[in-house]
């Protein structure tokens, strides 16, 4: 799917964040020489298409006291992986859940589920819930705690159009 130059300009104008003023879409419209109605309409369309996943806040877990961040990883039989992944993804404590390829022999795991907590003990407790849920379907599992954020910038579009 390709996006029009105008949508690209709109996304670029929004990607660092919406201006914190009473009429943010009007301010963006002015910047882009569009009308406020056009800006809102295009944002709705992009949201409907899934180009924009959501509009809202990205909180910093660490600053909220969620210092422990555990990437739990599971080796689940491929035949059951989709069904069990959906169950894990539906758990209240899981913030992201994906199936990914294994990299044997270094990496036997195919299901990834992210857990956050204020301490590692809290994450461990949450992890035990997944252990119980998955039961004998798990062949091996592990948890990788983050020890440092080395970089966090998020997606930024380059200044020029995509090639």
């Amino acid at each position: 799917m390709s996006i029009s130059p105008q949508d690209r300009a709109l996304i670029k104008a929004c990607q660092a964040g919406l201006p914190l003023v009473p009429e943010p879409y009007a301010q963006i419209a002015k910047q882009l020489d569009m009308t406020q109605a056009d800006v809102m309409n295009r944002l709705e369309v992009l949201l409907g298409q899934g180009v924009i996943r959501r509009v809202g806040i990205a909180p910093n877990h660490y600053k909220l006291g969620m210092a422990a961040n555990g990437m739990t990883v599971w080796d689940i039989d491929d035949a059951q992986a989709e069904e069990l992944g959906a169950l894990v993804g539906a758990m209240e404590d899981v913030t992201h859940c994906y199936l990914r390829p294994r990299k044997r022999p270094v990496w036997p795991y195919n299901l990834f589920a992210m857990l956050h907590g204020s301490t590692r003990d809290e994450v461990e407790e949450k992890r035990q819930h997944i252990v119980q849920l998955l039961g004998s379907a798990v062949r091996a599992h592990d948890v990788l705690y983050s020890t440092q954020i080395l970089k966090k910038t998020g997606l930024r579009l380059a200044s020029k159009g995509a090639t």
Partner: protein, 149 residues
């Protein structure tokens, strides 16, 4: 800065579904029982303090024709700092975390084309002399957005 219960309510309520309307803060504030100006001031304060990393539309790189890919490397501890600088110098590296595992560096590549992932991973391999393991998502289980503040 310390956040209070109102700030927590704001964080819990506004992770998704921020209104697209002429006066969106007024609408969101009304739902939270706040004044428009108070909501804006609180968001600005939390953004300045880094409690909110970003506020606005979140893009799906894949829907725009691009791609995201989780990658990992096994970096010798003695080289960790130098390799961090090298890896972080790539604009395509959106996040990078140290983790306690044999694969001790985990980063996300975000590129504007699917081909950009493999190409960037190859450039990182050339720059570091280390293999880059790619873990593209094969399936995502939708979990909503719910960080309880």
């Amino acid at each position: 800065m310390q956040i209070d219960d109102t700030d927590r309510q704001i964080i819990n309520a506004l992770q998704t579904g921020f209104p697209i309307a002429p006066r969106p803060f007024a609408l969101a504030a009304e739902r939270l029982g706040l004044a428009e100006g108070d909501l804006i001031a609180r968001l600005a304060r939390m953004k300045d303090a880094g409690i909110i990393t970003r506020f606005g539309p979140f893009l799906d790189a894949a829907a725009m024709g691009g791609a995201f890919c989780l990658c990992a490397m096994e970096v010798p501890p003695a080289q960790f700092e130098a390799m961090t600088r090298t890896v972080n110098s790539f604009d395509e590296v959106a996040h990078n975390y140290a983790r306690d595992h044999r694969l001790n560096m985990w980063f996300v590549l975000a590129t504007e084309t699917p081909a950009g992932i493999t190409e960037t991973a190859a450039r990182i391999e050339a720059a570091t002399g280390l293999p880059v393991f790619q873990f593209p998502k094969l399936k995502e289980f939708f979990v909503g957005f719910r960080v309880a503040a």
